[in-house]
Amino acid sequence: MDIILSSISQGLLWSVMAIGVYLTFRILDIADLTAEGSFPLGAAICSITIVSGMSPLIASLLAMVGGMLAGIVSGLLHTKLKIPALLTGILTMTALYSINLRIMGQANVTLLGQETLMRSLQSYGLENRLAVLVVGGIAVGLVILVLYLFFSTEIGLALRSTGDNEDMSEANGVHTDTMKIIGYMMCNGLISLSGALIAQNNGYADISMGIGTIVIGLASVIIGEVIFHNLSFAKRLVTIVIGAIVYRLIIDLVLQLGVEPQDIKLFSAIILAIALSTPLLKKKVKKAKRIVGRELN
């Protein structure tokens, strides 16, 4: 039970990042590597702001704004300088490494003993894990609500149509470049916000936090899509949250199984591969059943 609660609470914090990854995935049809830089960027801005005595809420929002700026940079590189999306991500991520170090002034900033969102809830008598659960729940709820409302507006619809069919949208008078920049901006804002939340949860911001972010994000998205397919936009966002929680649960179960520490990454990969190949297996089973059925008749 403990492990499930722990996975859910951490999964919620990661899911904010996964939603960001999903949106770039939808709008640009590519995994935007900017994530690996904007995630620690959020952690860096948030930790430095908290250490300098500001409220954790303001710190988290500032982190989100920082991520948006990083997204705008990626968006401009991609649309105005016509740099391919994959390279754009790599460029921004590389640049952000130095910027994050500049912001933090060192490679690791501790938040132990500082006021964080989770700790301010604990002062109301909430137990630590419950506090994480509440913070994560509120953050994810707000993000999904805002996105849902935004994607019903005219800009939001134009953004989605850009992702679905760029040429067609352009022909209908949508400024696809602007839409892409807005997309990059929103996604990296979310990813940075997630970085800020994770840093507060872990008790430190570290320059190496971003490594593997994109994998966690994509895994969450794909698991969400594997479990439930063909859904409307709002429901899809919810499935990504579930995907992020399931991913965390898978990893945590592997850790609990008493696997030799050096084999953990191997096991994580195997279990993930199994999870990701289920749709194909399902199809094959169905097909086999049909064939068997025909032969029997």
């Binding site: 403990d2 492990i3 722990s6 996975s7 951490q10 990661w14 490494y97 170090l101 060192q106 490679a107 690791n108 501790t110 938040l111 132990l112 003993g113 500082q114 630590n128 894990r129 994770i198 949860n201 872990n202 008790g203 430190y204 570290d206 320059i207 190496s208 936090m209 490594i211 593997g212 966690i216 965390r248 990893i251 945590d252 850790l255 609990q256 520490p261 050096q262 953990i264 990454k265």
Partner: protein, 328 residues
């Protein structure tokens, strides 16, 4: 079974599942009394697979063994290694909390994660350079919380003095390290102070991955007369490259650790991580056997420093290995 007189104080009421399986007819009450060594559970959380960190862990376990805590008999070790994946540190920390008499954390992020998850269980750290800066203790003399341990702060001033004694005519000293390792920056800053205090110039260049080392070290080598390197993981793994470039330019290199000397440095006065782990185990025994409180146990630095010389490198530089001694 060896018997020992033990003054067992009440350890915070911990009953572990594993302990209850292994204990034979030994009520799980935390009453005081003289008995054989009861089953003890110790958690270990290591941040990554790394030579120094692993040596520290092995030293810790061997020292416990010498104190008659044998793994599998009366000692359960719950060992987790995050393989450098910070997303896993949090889950691993949570799984270790509440199950162990003492939890050992190896390297800064591991210690920070544990300290975030529990404010009750006694936590020991090792291989953390600056516990105050990392937010683990309020003060090195009086930690004040549930966390204390051993710092791997190297004797920078002695190391710099050693370097200057090996490069008498040097005017500019180079420092190279990975800017993403918190411990390295702390050490580099201290080294810079120590060198500048001697009236010499300092030139610092940083790398971010092992791929940068060759280029950056070559650039540095052209501009300086000797090189100091902190106990940096990235530089530690590329010491052979660094050593080659240093020989090419005939530069003495004093790195932070003995392992780095063996891999291509000239000499150092440094820490033995296995001994540091043993020292940490002594602190663990104080907690387990005497009920010592981490809040009141000062952070310790390494008791056993040693002068290590790479004779091959010394001869290539035309320095007689016998002549290398610690400056007064």
């Amino acid at each position: 079974m060896r018997t020992r007189e033990m003054k067992k104080k009440v350890i915070i009421g911990l009953t572990t599942v594993t302990a209850s399986l292994l204990l034979v007819a030994c009520g799980n009450t935390s009453e005081t009394g003289d008995s054989e060594i009861e089953n003890v559970s110790i958690g270990i959380l290591q941040y990554m697979e790394h030579d120094s960190l692993t040596r520290a862990r092995e030293g810790f376990v061997s020292e416990l063994e010498e104190a008659d805590y044998i793994e599998g008999e009366n000692l359960t070790i719950n060992y987790q290694n995050a393989q450098g994946d910070q997303a896993n540190l949090q889950s691993m920390s949570e799984s270790l909390v509440g199950e162990n008499e003492v939890i050992l954390s190896i390297a800064t992020p591991a210690a920070q994660s544990l300290a975030t998850v529990t404010q009750e269980d006694p936590i020991l750290f090792t291989a953390v350079t600056d516990p105050v800066d990392a937010g683990l203790v309020a003060d090195n003399e009086a930690p004040g919380g549930n966390v204390t341990g051993t710092s791997d702060m190297v004797p920078i001033e002695e190391q710099v003095a050693l370097l200057l004694s090996l490069a008498q005519d040097a005017e500019t000293i180079g420092i190279i390290y990975n800017s993403s390792e918190p411990n390295s920056k702390i050490q580099a800053d201290l080294a810079q102070e120590a060198i500048e205090a001697e009236g010499l110039e300092v030139k610092i260049l940083t790398v971010t991955t092992t791929n940068d080392v060759q280029q950056v070290m070559t650039t540095l080598a052209q501009e300086v007369d000797a090189v100091y390197i902190p106990t940096d993981n990235t530089l530690a793994s590329t010491m052979p490259t660094v050593g080659e470039i240093a020989l090419e330019y005939q530069l003495p290199v004093v790195p932070g650790s003995a392992e780095m000397v063996e891999a291509g440095g000239l000499a150092t006065y440094g820490i033995n991580y296995e001994e540091l782990g043993r020292q940490t185990a002594q602190m663990a025994l104080q907690i387990i056997e005497d009920g010592a409180d981490p809040a009141e146990m000062p952070v310790e630095t390494s008791n056993s420093l040693e002068l290590v010389i790479n004779e091959e490198v010394a001869e290539s530089l035309g320095i007689d290995p016998e002549s290398i001694v610690l400056p007064e």
